[in-house]
Symmetry: C2
Subunit: 390 residues, 2 copies
């Protein structure tokens, strides 16, 4: 990721500084002593680590808020000054580009999306550049600089090299996206797989904060999965990991575009559900929304299809739990609109197929706003920024 651009860089002089900042970032305002405890450092080290970060404006002394009057010297909370820096996250899908402007705490300030018609890398790059420029103009209104750009693309992405190895939706192969985007925008660019980006957001700013082992499962057009093991996002030796969508749960099931039968995605993906509803009810069902409406109206056939999808997802999650024993599984994705239809079946099938203590893993759902994917991209940019000096 030899980023040519010369922007401000993070004063992460030492490992302790990075560690302290990361802890404050993901665990809200904390006293220095508490930070020391969590980081396994001495209080002195925290004081020393905090100073340069406060001088640079990244950390601030927090308001005591509703401090229950305790004995002894009152604690001075340390928190991240979110407004200190802005980042842009962009998610590229087959038919649109979603961009968000976030602050250092990954809170969304502005969100935009533009349709995408041409999949040629040059055209996509131009769209990204336009959207980025637009968001940077917005940033100027806050009077704060944008310090990084994150791009999330589905498919096989090498984050370290900033290369999209293969993206089926865009029909890209070996596109050096980070380099190209850095050239046109002049920003440091991070490129990552979309599900992994979402997982990073969850790990640093969401429900996965503080956990060393968890999984994020996304339900929508495809079924994806991001994994965090030993506190790090799993990328796979060949750049592919978390392909829960192509775990086979029923060898007698419907054929999947990957060539196999009964993949989770071939049963619970949007297209699969729609196809199956049509098969059961008739071709007059126009789209996913209509299928959903049918099921909500109580149509037995449609409900059955959704239940089967829930079963497949539940089994898929159980497989992840059996293999990795995560602390938590976070289910998310656009498909959650139909969550009330899946929910029970997911839980039942998970409980049934999970082995022993693996079933103790806690499964929760998080609705996914449409711009959350882009926020994930921003999270990777923030991550890269913080680590840039390491």
């Amino acid at each position: 990721m030899r980023s040519i651009p010369r922007t401000e860089s993070f004063p992460a002089h030492t490992p302790a500084v990075s560690q302290v900042f990361t802890i404050v970032l993901s665990h809200g305002p904390l006293t220095r002593l508490e930070v020391a405890r969590r980081a396994g450092l001495s209080a002195a080290a925290v004081t020393k680590a905090v100073r340069p970060l406060m001088e640079a404006g990244y950390l601030a002394e927090g308001a005591d808020e509703d401090a229950p009057p305790a004995l002894g010297r009152p604690a001075n909370l340390v928190r991240v000054d979110g407004g200190r820096a802005l980042f842009i996250g962009v998610k590229v899908t087959g038919d649109e580009i979603i961009g968000v402007l976030t602050d250092l705490c990954c809170r969304i300030r502005v969100a935009r999306h533009v349709p995408l018609t041409d999949h040629d890398p040059k055209a996509v790059l131009a769209s990204i550049a336009d959207l980025t420029q637009e968001l940077r103009t917005e940033a100027d209104d806050f009077g704060v600089q944008v310090l990084g750009l994150g791009l999330a693309v589905s498919g096989d992405v090498d984050r370290g090299e900033g290369v999209v190895r293969y993206s089926p939706f865009l029909e890209w192969r070996d596109v050096r996206l980070a380099e190209l985007a850095a050239m046109t925008t002049g920003l440091p660019v991070t490129v990552d797989n979309d599900v992994r980006a979402l997982t990073v957001a969850e790990q640093w700013f969401g429900t996965g904060a503080g956990l060393t082992d968890f999984a994020v499962v996304t339900v929508g057009a495809g079924i994806g999965c991001g994994l965090v093991v030993h506190g790090q996002v799993v990328a796979g030796a060949h750049g592919v990991a978390g392909e829960i969508g192509h775990v086979v749960v029923d060898p007698a099931g419907p054929r999947c575009h990957c060539g196999n039968r009964g993949c989770v995605e071939a049963i619970a993906g949007d297209a699969a559900i729609l196809a199956r509803v049509r098969e059961v009810i008739g071709v007059q069902v126009a789209d996913t929304a209509e299928a959903l409406a049918l099921a909500h109206r109580g149509d037995a056939g449609a409900r059955e299809v959704y239940a089967r999808a829930g079963d497949a997802i539940g089994r898929g999650i159980a497989t992840v739990a059996n293999l990795l024993g995560p602390e938590r599984v976070i289910i998310s994705g656009e498909g959650l609109a139909a969550y009330d239809l899946f929910a029970e079946q997911i839980r039942d099938s998970f409980a049934e197929a999970a082995f022993g203590s693996a079933a103790r893993c806690d499964v929760l759902t998080r609705p996914l706003p449409f711009d959350e994917w882009a926020r994930g991209a921003a999270a990777t940019a923030i991550q890269s920024f913080i680590r840039s000096d390491t």
Copy 2:
């Protein structure tokens, strides 16, 4: 693991020392410069790290052997002096206890096994103590001290606490095995799950050396799986991980003792294969060996059963590969006696069910001598010893 015993401890004063020793341990004799390169340290740091280890006798200057006469000062190879210390590894199964005496390089010096009749913790402990004592006597013949005892037990084991949470074969629940064994033997004791122990052996002394992401799959009475992700063995948040045996590959398959249908183990476990062969051929098939012989003799029915087992294993491995994208999968276990019957089917099914680049993962087999399980236990003891001072 508050180990009461007072034995010699490893001089791992600094992280660099540990790292250097680990590298030399698993990558054979190396020049100091090569070690520096692999560890990301300076040559000076390696020299400094090596000195105390050589003074303590753990490292030695290696013979140049077949040094191809190169330019410049000839290299001084550094290697681990295996004979410097001995370790004992014990694997406890339902019906016997296998013990090995290994050196610091985890090479087996002596192997013993004794039958086990009584599953009561006290009785098992007594057997372990006897076997340990016997092996320590052997160790005296070498004039070297035994510095640690590793115990491998199947089931849910908490290595950190040294507790066997639940072992189905032994019918144990929450047995504080490390503590008990330390008391009776006076040695530092490490207790771990058997498959994880085998994985540690593979990671440090076997085909997994140097890899940061790989899986070990054991085929036998049960189907197990040890995972290494980000260079660490996966233990799971609740102590359970790698349960590939209970991944469902065919919901219409035979019922498994875990309550589900079509688990890998319910199709490819020894008992499952035997049951199925009987079903196909007749009850006169006495045991696994006979089933195997039948298949080897070319009986179509038996061969079919083995092929189906291979298919289940291949699909299971593909699931692991899809989720984690390991660099390599090592197939091992007693069941490998039948490997020629599985092999093709495993590979075919794996290739078919693996998604995208996940299929690039290299699948290899390693025959598993009967005392390899105990060697795994010894490996965990060595690991604990080396980290004891960290």
